[in-house]
C-alpha cells in the first residue's frame, strides 16, 4: 500500500470512530433539541408525573413549550381548549368533554372547591385521571387528581385549592387550555 493510500485509510478510521462515538452523537442530538429537552424526554415527561420545577423549565423554553403542548394534546385523556369568549360566569367553564365548576367554601376562609364534571361517555376517563394541567400565557401548571374524592355516581372529580392558588386564576381565565392526563 502506498504511503498516500495509508494516510487516506487512517483518516477514514478516525472519521468512522468520530461518527460512531456515543457521547458525540448525544451532543449532536442535544444541540439540535431545545436546550436539553429533546422530544423523547418531553414525551417521557408528558407520560409520567413530573415535578413543578420541570414544568417551570418547560414553560421557560419556547420550543420545549410548543413541543410539550403538542405532546400533551396527543397524550391527554381529556382536553378543554380556550373558551371562545369571556364567560359571564368565571366560576364555570364548559367544554365538550368536561366542565369545570368553581365553588368557594361557605366558611369563606379561602378554600375553594374545583370540580371537573365529565360528560356522559367521558366518565370512564375519570377513573384513570392523574393530573390536571393548565396552560395559560405560556405557563404550565398542574394539580394532582389522585385524591380519594372520586365518586362514580356523579361523574366528577373534586380538588381543593386556596383562593390565592395561581391555578385558580388560570381556571377562571378563558384563554387557559386544560389537559387531563
Amino acid at each position: 500500500m502506498s504511503k498516500e493510500n495509508k494516510a487516506i485509510l487512517s483518516d477514514a478510521v478516525i472519521l468512522f470512530d468520530k461518527i460512531t462515538d456515543v457521547r458525540l452523537m448525544h451532543d449532536q442530538v442535544n444541540a439540535t433539541a431545545s436546550e436539553g429537552f429533546d422530544l423523547y424526554r418531553l414525551w417521557q415527561i408528558a407520560d409520567g408525573l413530573v415535578g413543578d420545577d420541570m414544568l417551570h423549565q418547560i414553560s421557560q423554553n419556547f420550543t420545549a413549550r410548543r413541543q410539550f403542548k403538542a405532546i400533551l394534546a396527543q397524550k391527554a385523556q381529556a382536553f378543554q381548549p380556550q373558551q371562545a369568549a369571556a364567560s359571564s360566569d368565571s366560576n364555570h367553564r364548559h367544554g365538550d368533554q368536561f366542565d369545570v365548576q368553581i365553588m368557594p367554601s361557605a366558611s369563606q376562609d379561602g378554600l375553594v372547591y374545583v370540580q371537573l364534571i365529565f360528560h356522559q361517555g367521558q366518565a370512564h376517563q375519570k377513573t384513570s385521571a392523574e393530573m390536571l394541567i393548565s396552560h395559560c400565557n405560556g405557563v404550565f401548571r398542574q394539580k394532582p387528581l389522585t385524591s380519594p374524592l372520586t365518586s362514580s355516581q356523579d361523574q366528577r372529580i373534586q380538588i381543593l385549592l386556596h383562593h390565592d392558588d395561581p391555578m385558580l386564576a388560570d381556571l377562571r381565565n378563558p384563554e387557559t387550555e386544560l389537559y387531563i392526563k
Binding site: A106, S107, P148, L149, Q158
Partner: protein
C-alpha cells in the same frame, strides 16, 4: 357547647369545625388551615349523603366540610364521633374553642344506617394514645365523656380514667340520651352564665363609680328586690323550667307541621298522606307524637267540621190514606235528617225517595256522594260515585230508585278542594265500604267522611 375528639392509635384528633356546604360539593374532611383533604374524605362523603349516608337523613343537609386537628388515615371508627358532632351541630350544640369548661366527648365506633353502634378494634391503643389529653382535661377541671360500644367499654375498663363519665352506646336511643344530656348541660351552662353575669353586675354595683351612677339613675333601687338570694333561686328555677320547655319546643318539628298544614290548605292530599305516613314511622318519639297530635287536633277535627257543615236528609212520600195513587195532592211527605251511621226503615208503599244534601256553611264545598245496595254482603252501586260543588245554602237532590227492598247505604265526603286526589280515594271507598284504608286516608287528610247504612228495609 361541646368539644369532640376522634381517637386514633397515634393521637386524639379534635373536630374543629363543621361547615354546611352547597349541595353540589362532595363532603370532605380537611386538616384545619391546610386545605388538604384527608384520605377518608370519600368515606365521609358516603357517610353524609343519601342514600348511603345518615347525616343528610337526620339533618337534611347533603354536604359538609369537617375541619379536624390532625390526620385520620383509615378505618371507620371516626363515624361515631362525627355522628355526635353533626347531631350536636344540628341543634347548635357543637363548638370548638380552647375552653376547658366545656364538656369533652371522646368517641370511637362504627355506625350503621340505623345509628346502631358497632365495636371497633385497637381501643386500648387509642385510649393509651389519648392519655395525655385525658390528664390535661382532668388537670384543668374539664369534664370528660367517653362514648364507646359496650363491648369496647368492657374490654378497656381497666384503662379508662376513673374521672371519665362513660357512655356505652349500642343504638340510637343511647346516642339520643347522650345528646340530650349534652344539650341540657349546654342550656344549664348558659343559665349559669346569666346568673354569673347578674352576680358580676351586682358586684360591680358596689364600686364607687357604679354607686355614683346608680345614685344618678336610681337603677339599684328599682332592681334591688331582684338581687337577693331568694329571687336568684326563683329566677334560676323559672329559668330551668323555661329551658326545659324551650328544649322540648326545639324538638317539635314545627317546620314539617307547618308544611303539612300548607299541603292541606293547598289541596295536596297525596303529598300530605305520604308525609303523615313517614312521620308515623319516625324514630323520634317527639316528632311522632307531635304529628299524632296534629292529625287529631287539626286534620280529624277539620274532617268532622266539614261533615257537620252539610245537612243530609232522606225525603220520601207516601200516598195519603194508603191510597194507591201518587198524585201530588194526595201524598204525605216525610223527612229524616241523617246524623249518625243509621238510616231508617222505609215504608214499602212509598211514592218517592230522595237524598237531599245542603251546604249550610259559609264556604263553597266539594262534595262526593255514592249510594250502594248491600245484597247479602255484595255491594251493588245504586248511585255511582259523583263529585260536585255546593255554594253556601245551595242544595242537591239525588233520587234513589230501590228496585228491591234491600238495605242500602249512603257514603258522603266533603272538602274545601275540588281535586281528584281525594276523589280517587272516595271512589275506592265507595267500591269497598268495609275496607278502611281509603276512608282513613280521607279522614286523616282532613276530608269529611260519613257513611250511613240501613239495617233492614
Amino acid at each position: 357547647m361541646t368539644r369532640i375528639f376522634i381517637p386514633t392509635t397515634q393521637y386524639p384528633v379534635e373536630i374543629i369545625s363543621l361547615t354546611e356546604e352547597h349541595s353540589d360539593i362532595q363532603s370532605v374532611i380537611c386538616i384545619t388551615n391546610t386545605f388538604n383533604a384527608l384520605p377518608v374524605s370519600a368515606a365521609y362523603h358516603a357517610f353524609i349523603r343519601r342514600p348511603t349516608g345518615i347525616i343528610e337523613r337526620i339533618t337534611g343537609i347533603p354536604s359538609f366540610r369537617a375541619d379536624v386537628s390532625g390526620p385520620i388515615d383509615q378505618g371507620d371508627s371516626w363515624q361515631l364521633a362525627m355522628l355526635i358532632a353533626h347531631r350536636l351541630h344540628h341543634k347548635n350544640g357543637f363548638s370548638q374553642n380552647d375552653n376547658y369548661d366545656l364538656p369533652f366527648i371522646w368517641a370511637s365506633g362504627q355506625v350503621d344506617i340505623n345509628q346502631t353502634v358497632l365495636p371497633i378494634h385497637h381501643i386500648r391503643e387509642k385510649l393509651l394514645a389519648s392519655k395525655p389529653l385525658f390528664e390535661e382535661i382532668n388537670s384543668r377541671g374539664g369534664q370528660l365523656h367517653i362514648a364507646l360500644h359496650p363491648d369496647n367499654m368492657a374490654d378497656a375498663t381497666d384503662i379508662i380514667p376513673n374521672y371519665a363519665i362513660c357512655h356505652p352506646l349500642a343504638q340510637e336511643a343511647d346516642i339520643n340520651q347522650l345528646l340530650s344530656s349534652m344539650l341540657l348541660q349546654h342550656h344549664q351552662n348558659e343559665s349559669q352564665n346569666q346568673i354569673d353575669h347578674m352576680e358580676s353586675a351586682e358586684q360591680s354595683a358596689d364600686t364607687p363609680k357604679r354607686r355614683q351612677a346608680n345614685s344618678i339613675f336610681s337603677l339599684t333601687n328599682i332592681l334591688s328586690p331582684f338581687c337577693n338570694k331568694g329571687w336568684k333561686r326563683l329566677i334560676a328555677g323559672y329559668g330551668l323550667v323555661t329551658i326545659l320547655l324551650f328544649t322540648l319546643q326545639q324538638m317539635i318539628p314545627w317546620h314539617p307541621i307547618h308544611a303539612a298544614m300548607e299541603m292541606e290548605k293547598s289541596g295536596e292530599h297525596v303529598k300530605l298522606i305520604r308525609m303523615l305516613k313517614s312521620y308515623r314511622q319516625d324514630d323520634n318519639i317527639i316528632a311522632r307524637l307531635s304529628f299524632l297530635y296534629f292529625e287529631e287536633a287539626y286534620l280529624q277535627q277539620k274532617s268532622d267540621q266539614l261533615i257537620a257543615q252539610i245537612d243530609m236528609q232522606l225525603v220520601w212520600a207516601v200516598a195519603n190514606d194508603n191510597a194507591s195513587s201518587c198524585e201530588n195532592d194526595q201524598m204525605r211527605w216525610h223527612r229524616y235528617t241523617i246524623t249518625d251511621a243509621n238510616l231508617p226503615s222505609l215504608p214499602q208503599q212509598r211514592c218517592h225517595l230522595y237524598l237531599e244534601i245542603q251546604n249550610r256553611g259559609d264556604n263553597r264545598l266539594a262534595l262526593a256522594v255514592a249510594i250502594n245496595v248491600n245484597d247479602s254482603g255484595q255491594i251493588i252501586p245504586l248511585l255511582q260515585p259523583a263529585q260536585t260543588q255546593l255554594a253556601p245554602t245551595e242544595h242537591i237532590r239525588h233520587p234513589i230508585h230501590l228496585a228491591e227492598q234491600k238495605p242500602f247505604m249512603i257514603l258522603v265526603s266533603s272538602s274545601d278542594h275540588m281535586t281528584t286526589s281525594w276523589y280517587r280515594w272516595f271512589k275506592r271507598w265507595a267500591n269497598r265500604p268495609a275496607a278502611l284504608t281509603a276512608k282513613k286516608s280521607l279522614k286523616d287528610t282532613g276530608i269529611g267522611v260519613h257513611m250511613a247504612a240501613q239495617d233492614k228495609t
